[in-house]
Symmetry: C2
Subunit: 231 residues, 2 copies
DNA sequence: GTCTATAGCTTGATAGAC
DNA sequence: GTCTATCAAGCTATAGAC
């Protein structure tokens, strides 16, 4: 079923491959499998088979299975954080208080992820599906997400606070939760909207997401802020 | 850690317990464990220990492990669907075309779930966490969600279409995806917003969700519909 | 219906040859 | 660095006593 053909690695014979390439190959294989089946749904043997290497090598490079998972999660997290931070800094630098909008800030926060998913190749698709799963994992998901992604979220909230100073932090945090739920489900491309809409929509169509999600979230934020302000 | 004390069942000695009670006890135990750790993260032995019954009984009542999981998933799905269908029918019956609003329809769709989660006890909390996980599972989540929850979603979309006839189905389906991402993440109460907001918000505070989510989603729908109408 | 006992695999991880 | 071989533990599932 998932018994894909073992992938050859590096140049020439496998035994000539460099350790560094092999590490990346193992991470790629683990990433795809963890994204589809979750941590417990994957065995180290499956990862080895998918990567075309021996089981023992996985433990040689990464140690225990959980450490392999963490290595997968860490690998792209920093890239993501830097892209988002740069995007939001650029937006703030390009605007003054008068021209900044809630939608603009939200777009600067979300768009890097959509763009990376569209242009980054299949590894990134798997990674987003993985993060979406972790995001909804009660046992250790909240803590893991916090460890890697809290700083950039605080940057978002603070920037929104400068755009709407009358907004309460409570409202901004709740709205962020709504936003991240929508964003992560869209990025994970589960295919549910395809069958639900009977072909009208495709979860792989991130351009359609881009055309709607920013406006949707921005209007949501504004409505919640306005509701609380008048109360 | 999760080695909770085996729960006694029924009246008097365990051996006197009725089979029906035992089945429910096993389902309760399985529900809580699957919700926290996912399908592959739970063993039938753990379920048996948590329920205070023997491993063999689980297979006697439910067959294979996957069938146990399906039984857990099915048990509350129908109750949920009936509550939501009734809520939406009641809303439509109580209003005419002039007084129906997008926010009213959305509230009729979401509020039953919030209410059940608030009043239904810990079993329902686990169930929502479970559904949230399935919702974000690429491998078989989309198909499973579709099998159990598509009809009531179509009812939502059709009702919204009567309230906003100029809206395109494409937009309604995409907005539904955004809505369900927010709703499911809120219902799963992962605790992330607690640490993120440094105590300002608590994921268990569904009253706070109620005060914001309906308005948030309704404004999002309206914004996307309006954007497309003028384009 | 419920328990004991166990069959038959698969798992994560390692020791040691090359 | 990479592979062969293997271990101890844990897994699902069942057969059969009561």
């Amino acid at each position: 079923m998932t018994a894909a053909k073992p992938r050859a690695v590096g140049r020439g014979r496998p035994s000539k491959a460099k350790g560094l390439d092999l590490k990346e190959t193992i991470l790629d294989a683990a990433e795809g499998l963890f994204a589809r089946h979750g941590f417990h749904g994957v065995t180290t043997r499956q990862v080895a088979a998918e990567a075309g290497v021996d089981t023992a090598l996985i433990h040689y490079y990464f140690g225990a299975k959980r450490e392999l998972f963490d290595a997968v999660f860490v690998r792209r997290a920093e890239i993501l954080n830097q892209a988002r931070e740069a995007s939001m800094n650029a937006y703030v630098a390009a605007h003054d208080a008068a021209t900044m909008t809630v939608e603009g800030v939200i777009e600067a926060f979300i768009d890097p992820l959509l763009r990376i998913s569209q242009d980054g190749g299949p590894g990134w698709k798997s990674y987003f599906a993985l993060v979406a799963q972790v995001n909804n994992t009660p046992a250790w998901g909240g803590e893991t997400m916090a460890r890697f992604f809290d700083p950039v979220v605080h940057q978002l909230v603070e920037t929104l606070k400068t755009v709407r100073p009358q907004a309460e932090y409570r409202d901004l945090y709740w709205c962020y939760q709504f936003l991240t739920g929508s964003m992560m489900l869209s990025l994970s491309e589960t295919g549910r909207i395809d069958s639900l809409s009977e072909g009208e929509c495709h979860s792989s169509d991130l351009e359609a997401v881009r055309q709607r999600l920013f406006a949707y979230c921005a209007a949501g934020f504004e409505a919640v802020i306005a509701k609380h302000a008048k109360a």
